[in-house]
Symmetry: C2
Subunit: 367 residues, 2 copies
């Protein structure tokens, strides 16, 4: 983000503002707090695509009835190590946060815990929930399915989500390992950035309406928005040469665990529309889990080995022209520390829109 286009805001007032805005839409206090916290955590880590920029969509969803402010959340099935929760069409964050806590509790009692959620909505960054396991000396996992934007290998149309996978594991002196990745090569937001910059897409990111990898940013985005064919490519790109079927397989795996397992919508059934084309509840699903480290190995031994593994990777010789090897989550961790010192960077347009939301809802906007 160039300096001109960004503003710097502090974590607490930004969270407060989002909380108050959601409160105005009849979201209960605790649910609003959790949702605000998860959104702001994304911006704090530099993942602005999943941060407060989403607040507008949540407000709209709550307004249209696509998202339920006070959902009837139900436990569908539960065993000592598992649970299946129906989120009642509410915001994704509050139920996801509680369900991940439940998985962690089960892991603390019995070694491992897993929980799936159906009938939910966008839950923010997958990594947030995986990272909740860290302070409990657990390894955490979190996945969600999502709006169909990704084409399967040899397919023409977008039928799968960017379906992210996040896993977090604690370390000792080093920052935690936090893998948080969409299973597509890039998200749609990246294409939008290229459009603004008037740049051509690299081959391997997205396809046109014939299903071939394309550099035509405008065309790909127009097709995607109007469902004219083509879409984002799975990690590994088009066809088999660079093994795009692995990214496609991972994306389908996320649909299996997040949707087939709990009975949520999958593939092109996600984010359905009614006969007039109005959006219906997204009906997406999530998958959460925790493994207690000391169910396998003493925590101090595990953490010392995590530190050593990280140091081995970081200290290995660099490719020509490179001077640093990163651990998954390291860049986001550093951005998070910077945000604490200097304030969270958000896009100026997003800040302006927050101002507009504040005016609409009668929430004071003084960040």
């Amino acid at each position: 983000m160039s300096k001109k286009n960004k503003v710097s805001v502090w974590e607490e007032p930004l969270e407060d503002f989002c909380t108050q805005a959601l409160r105005k839409m009849d979201v209960p206090e605790e649910d609003a707090c959790i949702t605000a916290k998860v959104l702001v955590a994304a911006d704090k880590r530099g993942i602005n695509s999943h941060g407060v920029a989403r607040l507008r969509r949540y407000i709209n969803g709550l307004r249209s009835g696509m998202m339920i402010p006070q959902p009837d959340v139900q436990t569908v099935t539960e065993t000592p190590t598992t649970a299946l929760i129906d989120a009642g069409g509410g915001l994704g964050q509050p139920t996801s946060h509680r369900v991940m806590e439940q998985a962690i509790r089960k892991a603390k009692e019995l070694g491992v815990g897993f929980a799936t959620v159906r009938n939910s909505n966008h839950y923010g960054i997958a990594g947030y929930y995986a990272m909740m396991a860290l302070e409990h000396d657990c390894i955490g996992i979190s996945m969600t399915n999502a709006s169909p934007l990704v084409t399967p290998t040899f397919g023409r149309d977008a039928i799968l989500g960017t379906n992210p996978i996040a896993v977090a594991a604690p370390a000792g002196e080093e920052p935690a390992f936090v893998l948080d990745m969409a299973t597509s090569t890039v998200p749609r937001g990246k294409l939008e950035v290229y459009k603004r910059l008037e740049k051509e897409l690299p081959l391997g990111w997205a396809t046109d309406e014939t299903g071939a990898s394309s550099t035509d940013t405008e065309r790909v985005l127009k097709n995607l928005n109007q469902h004219l064919g083509g879409g984002l490519l799975p990690l590994g790109g088009a066809g088999e040469l660079l093994r795009g079927y692995k990214g496609y397989g991972l994306s389908m795996l996320v649909d299996v665990l997040c949707a087939v397992l709990p009975g949520a919508a999958y593939a092109d059934l996600v984010y359905p529309k009614d006969e007039e084309g109005n959006p219906l509840p997204s009906a997406i699903g999530h998958f959460f889990g925790a493994w207690r480290v000391d169910a396998f190995r003493p925590v101090d031994e595990f953490e010392a080995a995590m530190d050593d593994l990280q140091q081995r990777l970081k200290n290995t010789p660099k490719a020509e022209g490179q001077n640093r090897i990163y651990i998954p989550g390291e860049k986001e961790h550093e951005e998070s520390l910077r945000s604490e010192r200097e304030g969270i960077h958000i896009n100026a347009k997003v800040a302006a829109d927050l101002g507009a939301i504040g005016e609409e809802l009668g929430v004071e906007y003084t960040l």
Copy 2:
């Protein structure tokens, strides 16, 4: 494989031969049977790189003492849902098979079960163990770390394994979902195939000694074999453009779960050598798990949704020039059915080497 270079063999005599060869190396009957079964299952599915072609390495490993024929296998820790097993430096397959059975038993009792293994060896195809869960109406997962052949993003040297991830989920009428993928773009064996065919490597597969993606097949393989720098690229290729750091992150995740968690060797500590350069025990680790489907949702509902998801993917429009979309594991499933009808295809050179092993060990080779 071209017809000239392959021979067709039947499953049962091939398994018997491998079993008898391993018996001659003092591997107990049951362990030899399991190992033979896992090796042959790979060839049956068309994954010849992990099939009976590996028998020679196992025989050599057992001969040199790198692999222990009758290992002292120990349970290090156990909880109702987890276990950590020390494989005692034995063959990977027998312990892996029993440990996956243990994970499935735990899942049947309590909903989920996970087990990790340390001090093990090559265990064959990851998918074999994940698929063991299918007949128990469980979702299975299996991972292993491996010999350092893969470079981290921005790194010059091979310090991570091809570290595969396999997940299998049952379906109803359709074949099971079986994702079984190395986290590198391609395995070393694929480079060897290109060398034999005198073909240039596609960019995105491997790097030369500077750490840049290279098309020079001979050079890359020579460097890899002599540890001169460069190596296989993680899924997503070199640098950040096509998101190679996601493949690198997945590879590191496998090292965390298969090695840091059980206390096995990781990164460049895998397959160590002594001061004279002689191979020491590989000390690799594995990770196994099972989720019982009906701990979340009735099996018939799950399987019906799996069928529907598969059909949606297969029936979606195809990219220009393509006529079929595959489900992960579908090609291997079809090859497996073909192998049952017509015999398993193995490479003629591998068949000749099996003959040589038979002569060396005094095992009759009449496939």
